[in-house]
Point group: C3
């Protein structure tokens, strides 16, 4: 008989960068008493997102940050292949890091569905689940975690 | 006891841009009689996609459109950092907006899994679920919505 | 009464490019005996990813490859709109295609949730589910497939 649990998680970020959620997710799975099932994680914001990436070499996360800054700069939009002036973002009320954060969210993931087995997420050896904060300042972030299993 | 419902949705788009699906999804959830569960939404096309983004300031959606046009231009592919000639798309039978639409689909989401509670999607205050039409002309688009819950 | 099955899949890739998983997924669904449900597919690596895209014209996949190489070049990071020197990747121990593979993974999907009905995935006419290998050399890749249904 399958059962379900919906949990709300809160994470305090410390500005642009990555927070490893893997341990907190496994703690929630174990607290549920379910041993086999699916875990659906949703980030309840539009200026931070979810990603699964490398958990071993911190330089991977540094390169991801550099790439995101280069691809979606704070200064505005510039067409691929053009060297001309940037087009400023129209949405800038909350500062220059606001619209780039929405774009980076659109290019990454807001929801992830994973499996768990024996009370832990089924992940590859080098995988971790990260909250990717795109704003420059730390924020309190909320996520929903939905477990379905037995 | 968990139950499931698979529904097919149809949306008429009016060309490149965003259609807010949030209300239609909540209507389907309420019609199912389920109060708590997961909703898996899949876009059944390869030239439009799904995204969760800001629901308050329409300039966010305008900036997302401008960014997508700059990142994946109709005129072809140009290497990052290069100012040289673009490489035309090989796949162009359906017009210059066809292959850019496939690329933008690959960079965003084709499937989203969300939670619902008390008959409504669990979303952040500023989040809406959008169908992102990448073709220049309006299209009739189909989506599947799978509800599992109780 | 809903039931669940967790399966592990293995795929041998032949280097950068796409492996169509649609047939293998339908085979697993049919072997489960379930006729209606959801299929959650997770790629257990950080240098290959999942995407749903066009299944008819092989030039679409060629253009996706060209775009990914242009957007995330092996030579390093260059700011949008800049023609200056590239910033080399910090993470390069496994070769020049390693960090670009992590970035391309972050920009596409690591998990997909789909519906199935009558023993087959619910997909659009032109959709296929692909494993997108980002490394230059072929690799043995593992995926988890979680079926919940009846």
């Amino acid at each position: 008989m399958l059962r379900q649990f919906l949990r709300m998680l809160a994470v305090q970020t410390s500005g642009e960068g990555f927070t490893d959620l893997t341990g907190a997710l496994n703690t929630e799975i174990q607290a549920s008493g379910l041993t086999l099932g699916t875990a659906t994680l949703v980030c309840l914001h539009t200026s931070c997102s979810l990603t699964i990436n490398e958990n071993a070499d911190p330089r991977v996360l540094q390169d991801l940050t550099s790439f995101a800054r280069a691809l979606v700069p704070q200064e505005g939009i510039v067409p691929a292949g053009a060297a001309g002036p940037r087009q400023p973002y129209r949405h800038a009320d909350e500062g220059p890091d606001d619209m780039p954060s929405h774009i980076r969210t659109a290019l990454t993931a807001t929801s992830l569905s994973l499996s768990f087995q024996e009370g832990s997420l089924v992940l590859g050896t080098w995988q971790a689940v990260y909250l990717w904060e795109h704003r420059r300042l730390g924020q309190r972030r909320r996520l929903s975690l939905h477990l379905i299993g037995s």
